[in-house]
């Protein structure tokens, strides 16, 4: 494989889905993290931990559409298992962090390709 180049066959292993944020909670002892429950079209919402607290108020995130990388290996942060990752764009100095979203409404669980 050419250095730094990704084959399409590797890209399609990633499962990226449209999600809708159902609830947002602070986490004891965490300045930067929220615990989020997100509808990604599955029977139960996904629980994720995301470092959005410096960038978003809880009220701004409520019911917001987002993009969830669903098959990232789960990891535990502050005792909470995070089942996926929210995609966000950040500028060079990381002063600005902005969630990705579908640019118009589409149902949670819709796949990104």
């Amino acid at each position: 494989m050419e250095e730094g180049i990704i084959e399409f066959s590797d890209w399609i292993k990633l499962d990226l889905r449209v999600g809708k944020i159902l609830s947002i909670e602070d986490i004891d002892g965490a300045d930067k993290l929220y615990k989020l429950d997100i509808d990604i079209g599955e029977e139960s919402p996904r629980t994720l931990v995301a470092g959005l607290k410096p960038y978003y108020e809880k009220t701004e995130l409520q019911d917001k559409y987002c993009i969830v990388f669903t098959n990232l290996k789960p990891r535990t942060m502050k005792g909470i298992e995070s089942h996926g990752m929210l995609l966000a764009a950040s500028n060079n100095d990381k002063k600005k962090v902005v969630l990705l979203a579908p640019e118009t409404e589409i149902e949670p669980g819709s796949r990104v390709s």
Copy 2:
């Protein structure tokens, strides 16, 4: 590696960037494709071929922010080399295809993580 699970070290190999669509052209003999020039914060715009014609008018795409997968292996479609892929969400029956975008403005070239 567990089946279907992606390690973080594989995820970070992907280079996803915020882009801004500068121009949109039809392609001779292609019903579904547009040729797009996109500012992704590089010296020159990237040329991409994307199957958006059934879903977007050209005027809707002009100056739109989008997400470009920049280090996908280039491929040639209808004689035009496409240097990356625009990310979009589609529902189950593929009747609806919606571009991903940053949910508020952030400069082209901003990295997704």
